[in-house]
Amino acid sequence: MSGIIDMVLASIRAKVPAANATVRTNPGPSGQDSLMVAPESVADVMRVIHDEHGFDFLSNVTGVDWPDPALAEKVAVIAEGDADAEGDAKADGEETPAECGFLEVVYHLYHTSERKGPLVVRSRTKDRGEGAKIASVVSVYKSAEFQEREIYDLYGVIFTGHPDLRRILMWDEFVDHPMRKDYVAPDDYEYEPTPHAAVIEKAAQHYPAPDAD
């Protein structure tokens, strides 16, 4: 696996220097290391991966919300040992505002005819508000179209260059991004005979003195 990643990393560093590509090792037993690139050059990186390395199948695109960047550093993203990458990682870390967190998009790519994969590529937005932008890869991989719309819907990541970026799962009038960790679900408490913590709090608001009578 690392063989592919190193190969891809070398060519990306040569072709798309702006991508700031680094390798992140996975601390878990799965050993699926990933390639971290800058958000605005994701599409260029994908173009290189698709055209030069033959990864023709983008299987999975998904978002992850990291309101707490310290946790993000702990999980899944331990920078690789060599000095070069370390420097990059540091630079990356400095760019990330520590207090506001960020959104991450993870791509899983495969090579269908040579049966290689997965190549995990990830990218982080600058913050979780206005700056949550990532270049869309729909022009390279059509399969990202609906998945990117889903990430936009549920996480609020704006994919620049997406042909039809609308809400996909929720209705168009909906304004929140429900998969974010800080999303608060609408208060539609109702009859619930077996209540547990969250429900009880809501119930108390709905019926100020539930047992008054």
């Binding site: 619930e192 005979p193 077996t194 209540p195």
Partner: protein, 226 residues
């Protein structure tokens, strides 16, 4: 596709058919199904539900029930209100209140045990995690009602079912559980006896020690006064 070895084709290449042959084949199959449905059970597997019922596998699980030993649910309930099932239940449809005596001491039995079967997802995780062989999955499914609020919350009165019921439902599992419980009980009894003996010994020893201590203290006191 470098290493995809193509092998013999599976299509029906080169065969000539007359138009309409496939349609006639279709008619033949449906016609055969119709005719055979009159005399072949396999072609007419209808079970006329309310009158006759399909033999459902004993493993079938629908909603949970609580098992009690003996013949009175008030006393024999195996449940200790530990709350493990309440915590593990994926849709959070179990609600338990521990029964307590006047001093607030837990009586190790539920005062309230409600399962909201309008939410229950029949997953069986409660039965799986229960360490006290108390909660099992029932095969009862005829629960249709027109009152969602009153009839779909199962309280202790509707949940508690005797071991005989369990035995009837799943003899194999129930027997295994009974044997296990019996063994455990015996072990417990033995352990209890041993513990009692030990406790007795300890108590004796303690008493002895206390006595000695008292004596010693008395001695000391005596010594002190001297």
């Amino acid at each position: 596709m470098k290493d995809a070895k193509h092998q013999e084709p599976a299509g029906k290449a080169g065969k000539w058919t007359i138009p309409g042959y496939g349609l006639l084949q279709g008619l033949f199959v449906s016609g055969r199904n119709m005719v055979e449905s009159y005399y072949k059970k396999e072609r007419c597997p209808v079970i006329q539900y309310p009158e006759e019922k399909a033999d459902i596998s004993p493993n079938f699980r629908n909603f949970p029930f609580l098992c009690y030993d003996g013949d009175r649910p008030e006393t024999g309930l195996r449940c200790t209100a530990c709350g493990i099932c309440e915590k593990e239940c994926p849709p959070q449809c179990i609600y338990i209140v521990m029964d307590r005596d006047e001093n607030g001491k837990a009586k190790k039995r539920p005062k309230v045990f409600d399962i909201d079967i309008s939410v229950c997802m029949n997953c069986g995780i409660c039965a799986e995690v229960c360490p006290f062989d108390s909660i099992y999955m029932d095969g009862q499914y005829e629960m249709a009602t027109d009152d969602r609020f009153e009839k779909l919350v199962l309280g202790l009165d509707r949940l508690a079912k005797s071991t005989d019921y369990h035995m009837q439902l799943r003899p194999k599992e129930a027997t295994a559980v009974m044997e296990k419980r019996k063994a455990a009980e015996e072990k417990k009894k033995a352990a209890a006896a041993a513990r009692a003996a030990k406790a007795k010994a300890a108590a004796e020893k303690k008493a002895k020690e206390a006595k000695e201590q008292a004596e010693k203290n008395a001695d000391d006191a005596k010594g002190g006064t001297e």
